[in-house]
Subunit: 247 residues, 4 copies
């Protein structure tokens, strides 16, 4: 099968921001040697951009590959692709509003996929969580597997679990956070991790007492602010990467 | 509406200390991309000083803006202001003894605003907490909001919740710590965070057993020492910033 | 007793990788001033390679000593050996499939050897744990000791406790992780530590609820992937060491 | 009152090691802006050496002051002394075997002084804890205070609480660890902190189940090894300081 045709070159600033997003997620403890972030092609909604298979902290703009929404690489030139790229492709297919996707395994988040305790929005920076956090169990439809979303069918099932939310947990694996911009997806992935830590502490502290988390309306109102004022965090993180790598 | 008149220039050492305070709070994990610290104008009690809207770790002395106590900028020159500057202005109005205010969202502190468990003074460095820690729930007076103290009325309500204490928690948001000097406000913000971690551990360890925390009298006595000997911590933190930025 | 004969020189790349493994384990928080990693001699199954007695973060390729499987050094030249090298020698004797062994005391793992709660595989990166994690109590056969596996008999007892698994916990001491390659042993040691943290959070969160951990079949399938795709983590960690030491 | 006479100059290597010990304790998270480490004068058992009042991470060999056992400085030359130096002087008076003392407030340790749960030796590196850990409550003899051991009488009371042990917790304040050498006192202070974290996790994990901690005999045997092989940790930490400061 021949590679799908590229939708055209992307600006260096876009590739730089996407590569920086990988390093930001590593610096913030959201990803380690594993995990990946992608964005929809700025001028072609049926294409997305993501690094070749490499640890997030090592990504450079030159490592970015273009994929079609079946997750076939347009310009791999022999470079390996992430086994789980189907997470990204199938979410972009199912959700035209999603422009960026982050997949991670941060240790504080994994527990919420294991014991049936719903994650809730503990503070305004994690407001988008107030809409609810579904859990995808790959075992339900695929039985015993290697746990990876390694083909289109598994990606479709994951996207169905996520539905209209911007986050989905994956049992005994990790999570996915999405957004209408690269910056918002990164912001949400970072504050999902922070929120998880706060919820662990809050539940231990309360010992079963009700938690005055954000309700759905507060969540919607605060999430709108995060998408604007939240740029302040991106500006910090982007500057920190720029200081290290000069792009 | 024209900008209020400036109360006059402030020494470079003062601006340097205030900018350093932002970076100290970031280095100590009290603030991340968000949060802010202000001080009352040294020669004009009806003015205060705070950085433009920027991540705390990036503040420089040149970023400091002067505000009146209604939180109108005197010298913004097109620079953006923090949406929540009203926290600062209204506390300075209500409390003539407060000379510096820190607002933060540190993850260990947020839980105490969510489950009705009072924060207590676990050790002498957090002595000021022994006077009691009120919780401000923005929902009580303003219903569902974006959670931000983004106008004077909300600032007034927050200051009323704080009353005569030097700390107030904000439900599902963060906290505010105050002091009679910049150094003491920073010290208190840092040790509020440390105290929160100690209390999480202590309550888990004790499993409901009474905690031999500082009582009110011990709190007053130890807090007085902190305001003097506590300068040792500031001297360390200030030196660390100076090593990085040369101011 | 004269020293056993060396099985022959080993390539600089092998020594570099083994020395780097020590530093990787230190950088990942698996070892501190103590702990050690070894590998079987690439061309002599009755020999293994391990650093002289030195903190893992300080190991260089020149510090590597060759041992026979009774843990006698072939080429110590006056350099001291780890008191607990018998952990390594006796596991290599008992398990021909094991090519690398890591011994560590990481604080998150020690609790699982103290209270009879089995460690389970919380996520796919720790898949090898799904096969079960035995606990070795040195007291059972040797009574009150200094807790160290400091001779062959204790090493044999430890290897017997481990049996066919690739991990064993040591009561009030630490743990051992093994693998068919150096890279896999390091990977497993790192993700044992991460898994322990996830399990602490999960059990506190669930409060006794069943945990949807990996089952044995999922564990086998995911572990196979980790041994291939897991190289991505090694590539990152190895690059980080290389940046520091130039080998 | 004139200053007591000095017992004579001390070698630069000794002063370097003592100054390095301060920085090591800061780097290991045992002390922050506060805390101090001292050693008995190598040739005068009625004198001890400790830095002037300064944050531990900033100590240099030139900051070291000599004190008599009533904690009067011999050579302050206008430099300030730690308010709590009486902790050190009174322990050296009461315990001729103690050659070094560390006082710290590490957050993981403070809880054990607040809720009546005894600290136990969770692993071999913290073996000295198996002998038991008393708690000093300054309130018992002195009523409401600023919590500081700021005179001889309070130091005597603390030393009495400690008795023949090498550690004592201070309610709502911190702890003291001692040893027969500087290196052992530092080692014990570091592993007290690590042990506290392990015990928090173990007790949460066990939920009240008995813990297979080191018993007293295991504690004695393992502590003897720590005082020898434990030098490996000191060698690492000392090298890390030397890399930073060149002494």
């Amino acid at each position: 099968m021949s590679a799908p045709k590229s939708a055209g070159a992307v600006g260096a600033d876009v590739l730089g921001d996407l590569a920086a997003a990988s390093r930001i997620l590593a610096a913030q403890g959201v990803v380690d040697g594993f995990g990946h972030v992608s964005m929809r092609h700025p001028s072609a909604p049926d294409r997305y951009l993501m690094a070749r298979s490499i640890a997030p902290a090592l990504v450079t703009p030159g490592e970015i590959i273009e994929y079609d929404l079946d997750s076939n690489p347009c310009n791999a030139n022999g470079r390996g692709s992430f086994l789980e790229r189907f997470i990204h492709g199938e979410i972009y297919k199912a959700r035209r509003d999603v422009m960026s996707v982050v997949h991670s395994h941060s240790p504080s988040v994994v527990p919420f996929g294991l014991v049936g305790v719903p994650m809730r929005a503990m503070f305004h920076n994690a407001a988008f969580i107030a809409a609810g956090v579904p859990v995808f169990d790959i075992r339900d439809r695929f039985g015993a597997t290697d746990m990876l979303v390694s083909d289109g069918a598994k990606g479709v099932a994951l996207a169905e679990s996520m539905g209209s939310r911007d986050i989905v947990l994956m049992r005994a694996h990790g999570s996915v956070a999405c957004g209408p911009t690269l910056q918002t997806a990164v912001f949400r992935a970072v504050y999902t991790e922070v929120n998880a830590r706060i919820q662990h502490w809050t539940m231990a502290l309360g010992g079963g007492a009700p938690m005055a988390a954000l309700d759905e309306k507060e969540g919607r109102l605060a999430d709108a602010v995060n998408q604007g004022a939240g740029r302040r965090a991106w500006d910090l993180w982007r500057a920190q990467v720029r200081n290290q790598v000069n792009w």
